[in-house]
Structure formats: structure tokens, C-alpha cells
């Protein structure tokens, strides 16, 4: 399905979705409250079948956080990007680890590095960071570590 056809289809599924222009892939912005419903439709709709989550990450914009999901359909070979704005003080979003199993580890990584709380995640704890890093989010822009970091 081409990007334009995808746009029409996605707007039917979720009227509140809006799109960023420019860029190689279709960029869709969704509200974090709609994300679980939207993700389920993307995965299970027979015309979409986005069955491959090939990137899950987060961006710290200082004013807010943005979750970024890259999806591809191995059947139709169409690709899209979904972005969702999160509140920086209490970032939380529904987990999609039961839709795409690969998200389980990726969400744990985003959890430890950005502090995003994934609701209904089966095992939300630190992935790579050693014990004692709970509550410190090293990939946030305002992260300071007076012991290990040498400032320029």
C-alpha cells in the first residue's frame, strides 16, 4: 500500500491521527491514550498487518518525551513510523509487548534509560544497567552524574 493509501486507511481507523509531511516513511502522530487500540488495529487489520516492529525508541525534547515506533508489514512491505508525545514528569504509555514480543526488551531499555512507564508490561525492570540505577535516567538531557561524568 502506498503512503497516500495508508493515510486514508489510518484516518478511517482513528480519526484523531495526524501526519507529518516529508521524510521517507509515513509519520503518524497519535495520542498515547489511543495507542493500544491503534496498535492492535495496525497489527490485525487484514489490509495492514504491520507484523514487524523493527525499532522502538524514545526522544527527550526537554519539554516532553516522544515515543517512536517503526513498523513494517512483512506481507505488504509497507513501512510507517508512529510517534506519541508523553508528559515528561509522569511519562506512561500502554505496553505493546503482547502485540509485538520484541517490544518487551525494547520497552525495558526505554524504561531504564528514559523512565517511561509501560502499563501492563509483563516484566518491567532494568535491562542492561546494573542494580542501583532505578530512578536515574541516563539518556535524559538533564542527566547529571557527578561521579563518572567529566564535563567539557
Amino acid at each position: 500500500m502506498s503512503n497516500d493509501e495508508l493515510k486514508i486507511k489510518l484516518s478511517e481507523l482513528l480519526p484523531s491521527v495526524n501526519f507529518d509531511e516529508g521524510g521517507q516513511w509515513l509519520n503518524a502522530n497519535v495520542d498515547h491514550k489511543d495507542w493500544l487500540y491503534f496498535a492492535n488495529s495496525l497489527r490485525n487489520h487484514p489490509d495492514l498487518t504491520f507484523d514487524y516492529l523493527f525499532c522502538l525508541t524514545c526522544v527527550d525534547w526537554k519539554t516532553h518525551l516522544t515515543m517512536v515506533y517503526h513498523l513494517e508489514s512483512t506481507q505488504y512491505r509497507h513501512v510507517m513510523v508512529i510517534k506519541s508525545k508523553l508528559d515528561r514528569t509522569h511519562p506512561q504509555i500502554e505496553s505493546v509487548s503482547h502485540i509485538w514480543r520484541t517490544a518487551e526488551f525494547h520497552e525495558r531499555e526505554v524504561f531504564e534509560l528514559f523512565g517511561v512507564k509501560f502499563l501492563n508490561h509483563p516484566d518491567l525492570r532494568l535491562l542492561i544497567l546494573p542494580d542501583g540505577w532505578e530512578g536515574k535516567f541516563p539518556l535524559r538531557k538533564d542527566f547529571e552524574d557527578s561521579v563518572n561524568m567529566i564535563k567539557l
Partner: protein, 179 residues
């Protein structure tokens, strides 16, 4: 401590006095031991980032460190003589590196390959996770500059290590008083 520059360039540390039935070798046993050890140094398979790719290249056919006595890389520290720290050491890796070094049998030698292992390199500033130089964890005999160093640089470091062993100047030899 005596520095023995004469040993550095001689292929074998000693003098042969010819006699009708063959010859008599005059040498010091420590020098012979160091000579033997320096020519059979087996490295440990240890690489934490891109330097490891250069290390693999040095081991393979084009550069072939076997020519200098680094015959095979061993996958267990108990059979290795030298550990080449090929890559970044992060805080989480540091105890693992220490344990590997402790498990290696004496005599053992350490080469810090590249900027990360030497000083933290590109991760010196503004990082929370990188050890700023592997010598914070274990003693290092030879440092190599570069990011990553070319295979020639690693070969040069390996030969430098051999010279150091022959002269009795590695950290371990100095610590044990085997100069």
C-alpha cells in the same frame, strides 16, 4: 633495575663457544626463560568493540600474528598468556575484565589497544558508563594509540611486548622482582 639493551636486538640471549665436540652455551637462565616466553605468547579471545575487528584482522592471513609467536587465540583465560584489551571497557564490564585477568596463569601480560582502552578515548567526556582507561582495573604493559589502531600498530605493540619481556620490564616481572 637493570635495563639490558643488548638483549633487545639479539635473537638469542647468550654466547656459544665452539668446541671440537659441538659447543658450550654461556647464558643466564632467566634470560633464556624470558626469551622462550616472549616467543610463545597466546592471546586471550577478548574484544569489546571495533578494535576487536582490527585484532581479528591481525590474527588472520594477511597480517598473521602467528609469525611472531602469537600462535592461536585461546578462548579461556587459563590457557592465555596475554590479554589484548580490544575495545571500550564500561563500568559493568570492569569486574569481568578483572576476573579474566585474575584467572590467567602467571606469567601474564596486558596490552591496551586503542583510545578507549588507554584513556576512555571518545567516551572520556560526558559519559556515565565508561571506565577512563583499562589501567584503572588491571596493570597494562603496552599501550597502542589509534581509534582503532591499524593491524600494523598492533603487531608493533606485540613485538614491543616481546622486547619488554626479554628485558624483564613488564609490570609482572618488575613486581615479582624477576628483572
Amino acid at each position: 633495575m637493570d635495563v639490558k639493551p643488548a638483549i633487545e636486538n639479539n635473537p638469542f640471549p647468550g654466547e656459544v663457544h665452539p668446541t671440537p665436540s659441538g659447543g658450550i652455551l654461556v647464558t643466564a637462565i632467566d634470560d633464556v626463560i624470558n626469551w622462550a616466553r616472549s616467543n610463545s605468547l597466546w592471546p586471550l579471545v577478548f574484544g569489546t568493540s571495533c578494535c576487536a575487528i582490527e585484532m581479528m584482522s591481525t590474527a588472520s592471513a594477511k597480517y598473521d600474528w602467528s609469525r611472531f609467536g602469537f600462535e592461536v587465540a585461546r578462548a579461556t583465560p587459563r590457557q592465555a598468556d596475554v590479554i589484548i584489551i580490544a575495545g571500550t571497557i564500561v563500568n559493568k564490564m570492569a569486574p569481568v575484565l578483572k576476573r579474566l585477568y585474575d584467572q590467567m596463569a602467571d606469567p601474564k601480560y596486558v596490552i591496551a589497544m586503542g583510545a578507549c582502552a588507554t584513556s576512555g578515548g571518545p567516551f572520556f567526556y560526558n559519559t556515565y558508563s565508561v571506565v577512563k582507561g583499562a589501567d584503572h582495573v588491571i596493570p597494562v604493559d603496552v599501550y597502542i594509540a589509534g581509534c582503532p589502531p591499524r593491524p600494523e600498530a598492533l603487531l608493533h605493540a606485540l613485538i614491543t611486548l616481546q622486547k619488554k619481556i626479554k628485558m624483564g620490564l613488564t609490570r609482572e616481572q618488575i613486581r615479582e622482582g624477576k628483572t
